[in-house]
Symmetry: C2
Subunit: 520 residues, 2 copies
């Protein structure tokens, strides 16, 4: 299988391969320009007569389940990342595959974490051919160094749903680690010792994979309620001692920043939303899990209380701050894709207004609409932003692939997209002439908030008008770039070879940009 085929320039001016891992690709055509043809992937029809009539799908071990599922060379194996850095099952799958001498697997996680760095040995010995999913941290560096046999494929959470739904990725075996399940395969993430909240990232796997294995350390009598994953999609169930490491499930990034600079950034962002009337009764918002984003939500809270405003809904990732807003009645609903702490898990378990969602409802661009575009304002980060408002979230300015896309691309369809970033990091400008990798086209990014001023995309004349005489430090994006370069100097460009190592997909499955191998 060829890693890639000839390169062409796509509509946003980036060089992208026309074929990736043997599959033909469509270059990015512009936002909303690629209209899909054809039909969704059609799974094989099952029959109850091939399943145990008492509903008991338990088998003795993960190995037995993988063998029954027909594990063999070249298959695509999917997992989810709801356990974050406490994931143990993904690694076990490939331990088993390696032990069985199986080669050339494709790992299709919804995201990877540093706990998965041990899989590098299987990328090196051919057990895993390549990863389609976020290649973070050590896996990212490994990819950037050109060491992965196949091309990495980076997709947003919505893009992952889209790719499976549309048949671009065919999952042979989905392994769904579940904090609670019954023998029929109904499963949820809200109960059990390794409770992680939602299992929404695994929904598409359950719907479309040939074989679906649920693994749990907390087996309950049928019915497991709620059934975030429905047993009617599940082939096999395995009980194990531990399905995830609870203390590592909670992300380390879920504390509000204490940095005065970043608190100022957050306050500025909130003031912008207040001045422009974005914070109004019945509004909706999404703020990520990073320290700045959490601080933004806290400033939102202050403004809302002061002005007697309630939000109709907030999009999670949820955490204790958002949960307290729900419990105080400041937010009517949390529509939640993943919980970032135990307060989030508790709330999702107990509060019917804390609703678990999936990339299908929230992000899938190849649906009949999705929720992302209904959100009034979303506050996100970026590693780099260029003077056309294009932004990067996957590579650092040294060219190393170190992050996945997450829901970031999908959130760009919000009514107002604000990137809140420091002007520079470690004396490397964040605002620059050109980003290392385009993950989001500038036309979708409305506002860039830095500690040295706020740049509004010229397309958003309404916001420019609303902030006139507001006292807010409105500047042009070029002014921000010039200021960054005045302080840090013109940034050096990363030294790449001409070899692509990974591609960044857009939400519609087209190729937006390429990640290049680093020069040694």
């Amino acid at each position: 299988m060829k890693k890639y085929d000839k390169l062409i320039i796509n509509s946003i001016g980036r060089m992208v391969p026309t074929e990736v891992n043997g599959k033909p690709q469509i270059p990015f055509q512009g936002v909303g320009k690629h209209i899909p043809e054809g039909r969704k992937y059609a799974p094989e029809i099952s029959s109850c007569s091939n399943f145990p009539s008492d509903g008991n799908k338990l088998v003795g071990s993960l190995k037995e389940a993988l063998l029954k599922a027909g594990l063999k060379d070249g298959m695509t194996i999917s997992t989810h990342h709801h356990f974050r850095n406490g994931d143990v099952i993904s690694n076990q799958i490939f331990d088993i595959a390696a032990e069985l001498g199986i080669k050339n697997l494709v790992w299709f996680p919804s995201a990877s974490f540093e706990c998965n760095a041990c899989l590098i040995k299987y990328l090196e010995n051919g057990t895993i051919h390549h990863i389609e999913g976020s290649m973070n941290g050590s896996l990212g560096s490994f990819t950037s160094e050109g060491k992965m046999a196949g091309m990495g494929v980076l997709r947003s959470h919505g893009g992952r749903y889209q790719a499976v739904q549309d048949g671009e990725v065919h999952i042979d075996i989905a392994v769904i680690a579940a904090p609670t399940a019954d023998f029929f395969g109904n499963a949820n993430g809200v109960d059990g010792p390794a409770a992680c909240g939602s299992l929404g990232f695994a929904l598409v796997d359950s719907e479309y994979a040939d074989q679906v294995i649920v693994v749990t350390d907390h087996l309950v009598a049928f019915p497991c309620i709620p059934w975030q994953i429905q047993g009617n999609h599940v082939d096999l169930v395995v009980q194990v001692d531990q399905v995830g490491i609870p203390e590592k499930i909670v992300s380390g990034t879920t504390e509000i920043t204490k940095s005065p600079d970043r608190l100022f950034l957050a306050e500025l962002t909130a003031r912008f939303c207040e001045v422009t009337g974005i914070i109004k009764d019945g509004f909706s918002f999404q703020s990520g899990a990073g320290g700045i984003s959490l601080a933004v939500a806290e400033y939102f809270r202050e403004i809302m209380i002061k002005r007697g405003i309630k939000a109709r809904f907030a999009r999670g990732g949820s955490n204790k701050y958002l949960v307290s807003m729900l419990e105080e009645g400041l937010v009517e609903y949390i529509l939640d894709g993943q919980t970032f702490d135990l307060d989030g898990v508790r709330s999702m378990r107990e509060n019917p207004n804390h609703v678990w969602t999936s990339p299908f409802t929230s992000y899938n661009y190849h649906g009949k609409g999705n929720f992302a575009s209904l959100v009034d304002v979303v506050i996100l980060g970026a590693t780099e932003i260029d003077t056309n408002f294009n932004a990067n979230v996957v590579t650092h300015s040294d060219g190393v692939l170190l992050h996945g896309i997450g829901g970031w691309q999908n959130c760009l369809f919000s009514k107002t997209v604000i990137l809140t970033v420091p002007l520079f990091r470690d004396r490397i400008p964040v605002i620059r002439d050109e980003v290392t990798t385009i993950c989001g086209p500038g036309e979708l990014i409305d506002v860039v908030v830095t500690e040295r001023g706020i740049a509004i995309n010229p397309l958003r004349k309404d916001l420019i008008e609303l902030t006139k005489n507001s006292g807010l430090p409105i500047v042009s994006i070029t002014e921000l770039k010039d200021l960054a370069e005045k302080i840090c100097g013109k940034p050096a460009l990363p030294a790449f070879t001409k070899e692509p190592v990974a591609v960044v997909k857009w939400v519609d499955g087209t190729i937006l940009d390429t990640i290049w191998q680093l020069q040694e």
Copy 2:
């Protein structure tokens, strides 16, 4: 389009057509014998770029929605029956179609009620070609008289899901009347003036129809929570004055029988379940909505309280009796397909252990298992039962088609199936040599309880053993038949022509039996 093509004998000895309404058919092969090949129906891929970015899918009227959805001759239009006899939208659809001069539509309801009898005029004038769904009451008589242009196709609730999933029925336009919805199309049945509980029967329509229209009289701000129907499947939303007639939504059959004979039947059934140990801690049961079934559940309650037993779950159709068992802690969960009264609706709205289900989870035979086979005991009715335990629920002994199948066929996969019936009705034997129409193969029917004795299927040696010396009036099915004939005389057979008017599908899509035109 030919109504049917040549007739052959299927594996249970019934004459069935090989082609129905122009589509080739598979004759019934035996329980669990037909293994489907091929893939599920694959809907066309949508794109968010073809839907309003603010999520607002509202159009001005049902007519406008139908026109936007491309209503034209020959299309298949689906509706659900959660409003039961308070359905108003189904009739409006065909009023509009008739007004527009559209012909040869196929109506694909999840069930019909007497309130839909007004559609006969559209069957007569060619607006509607035929119905695939339950043809009850007046529509049943109309069909039996051979007046419908096409063949009727009767499916169980699970069979309806199966048929759509497998692409046997392609829905052009699904119209989902919803007690509550938002402008994006998220909808539920638990809130609003016409609250009916679940919308589960419409799930498959939302998933697979080309065009999905949600109609509501109770529009709420996004998000409509819970979203039993997900707006991501919905094309258009219509607001109307009234989506269903609340006082007719509650079924008239949801009071416990007061007849001493029938109470005796119910008590006998419950005693059978007690003696055989079916009622044990953690067991599960399903009892229908008829007067006898409700009485059975009440006797179950007495036994459970007396013996300190709790059920893990009960399958609904729910009603005030079942809800009180949930609230008293006698039942841990209700897994509910449809609520039969307002207590059921309230409980489903408020109690997280009152779970709305769909034919996908409960009944679809072409899934990876379903819940029906996990239920310990199900108590059902029948119009007729033969000495091979084959049973009928769709025709009366005079040959007239008067009922749909509902979930009856699907429930036959329960661990123990009990048919509780009077030995005769209006001096016509219920137990007889041969049933007018086979809806359920005898091998799946375990026990027949009548007021004159209990017959156990010889296949269930365990139950025969358990009831020895129990004091229960155990008899053979032949004894029951003989007794019925002794009292009522040998029943006259209905006078049919040789013309098929409808077919009864089995849960796997094969044809189990044929309904014949009545002689005039």
